[in-house]
Amino acid sequence: MIEVNPDLCTGCGACEMACSLYREEEVFTTMRSSIILHREEKRNYYGIMLKREEDVLLGRPEGVEVMKEGESSDTGGGGKPILLREPCDTCTNAMCVRFCPTGCLKEV
């Protein structure tokens, strides 16, 4: 299972690219990842959304919370079509963790 520490996130987006590579195997793209970086640039608000089998894990400046399918979030980073993505399959030796430069993502 992937754990998120939003305090360590620098918004670099490596996780999206790494997870997409895991899914696609031969190309770099950002559209296949189970993890999405959400950003509101002008106020530098950003966080991570990880789609899981039954819910979406949100790691944001406010903290970490779990959003169930069909729920809305009250602040940013809610339900953009992350739902179109495949859920995280908790791959061992997860790519997102391996390529996160700050240790924001951890495998537990």
Partner: protein
């Protein structure tokens, strides 16, 4: 190949776009980024070129860089943009864009999914922040990356500065003016493209190893300017960069400024304290002017052309690879990067080949 497939050759006068396939030969002979831009400039003299480095948009750490190239007074000049625009340019399907001629009326380019649209616009006169907001709203996506000009670029000031979304690029040579003289208000990009890797397994292992090096080597965050950490809201990194050098400082309740070291340092060297400098920097970015030349953004919008600023010695290499030169302080091994290029592109380049290409920049 590490590129998406196309070069967009945009003819602003004919209002037409030609799509040219990127051939393996092109990469072999010019690798990418600044060197490839130079090659394209030879083929399309008088054009404005946007290009991505060979490693831009990949899992190579620091691979955020895109390059703008044009001729000024007979000298080929380069400016760089990082943040997320370099990656998004490649993912739009166009790893390179050649902009020829001049539009009769202000336009913006919209690059998306291998489509390059020339769109007439009434955004001329708006500041860079307004422009990005309107474009993102119009095109319906907040993740659209923009390269925009403000008043500085519109007036072709010698102090003009290209802006990526809301933040100044490393546009030392006022290439924002090259946009302005062509009546191009902005280049916007977004795509769901795919960057092919020749040997994904090897490439992945090599980049992971390189990241390991940076994890040990990078022990700091933010830009080393006295007093800046105390007012920093968060430390941001450009695409896939292990060094979060971009301090973000809040200047209002809902907005702030993403710092680029050189720009803030310039303002402080003009006598401002760090807080004042951040505020002025935000204004400079809105106007699209380079604080290297002064502290009054309104005055900077009309400045005479300034001497060309050549690249620093190591930058030609970084700007060809598509890696941010700020990582140079952490001992980037060029042999490792060469191996990455070869495993990613399927080519068999040597250091000599690379050196020969870099010498053209």
């Amino acid at each position: 190949m590490l590129y998406t497939d196309l070069i967009a050759v945009v003819d602003l006068e004919e209002e037409d776009v030609e799509e040219v396939d990127i051939e393996e030969e092109f990469i072999e002979e010019s690798i990418g980024g600044a060197a490839a831009n130079v090659k394209l400039l030879k083929e399309y003299p008088g054009s404005l070129i946007l290009g991505t480095g060979v490693l831009t948009g990949t899992l190579c750490p620091g691979s955020s860089v895109g390059i703008v190239t044009a001729e000024r007074n007979g000298t080929v000049c380069h400016s760089a943009f990082n943040w997320f625009a370099g990656t998004e340019l490649k993912l739009s399907g166009f790893s390179f864009v050649v902009i020829k001629g001049k539009a009769s009326d202000p336009v913006y380019l919209w690059l998306h999914d291998e489509i390059a649209d020339i769109e007439k616009t009434d955004l001329w006169g708006k500041n860079t922040w307004e422009t990005t907001d309107i474009l993102r709203d119009e095109l319906g996506e907040d993740r659209i990356q923009t390269l925009v000009i403000g008043e500085g670029g519109e007036k072709q000031s010698g102090a003009s500065l290209l802006v990526n979304n809301y933040w100044g690029c490393d546009d030392r040579n006022a290439l924002a003016s090259a946009f302005g003289e062509r009546n191009v208000k902005a280049v916007t990009m977004r795509g769901m493209g795919e960057i092919e890797i020749d040997d994904p397994e090897t490439f992945t292992a090599q980049t992971e190893s390189l990241l390991g090096h940076f994890r040990s080597a990078v022990k700091k965050k933010g830009t080393p300017i006295e007093g800046l950490d105390a007012i920093t809201h968060r430390y941001d990194a450009c695409f896939n960069c292990p060094y979060p050098c971009r301090n973000f400082v809040m200047t209002g309740e809902e907005e702030g400024v993403l710092i680029f070291q050189r720009h803030l340092t310039d303002l402080i060297s003009h006598g401002l304290d760090v807080k004042e400098a951040v505020t002025v920097l935000g204004e400079c970015y809105r106007h699209g002017v380079n604080p290297h030349y002064g502290t009054d953004p309104k005055a900077l919008v009309t400045m005479e052309p300034q001497p060309v600023q050549p690249l620093e010695s190591h930058e030609a290499w970084y700007y060809t690879m598509g890696i941010c030169p700020i990582l140079d302080q952490f001992s980037v091994d060029r042999e490792t990067i060469l191996n990455l290029i070869n495993s990613g592109t399927g080519l068999d380049l040597s250091q000599e080949d690379v050196d020969a290409v870099i010498s053209t920049v």
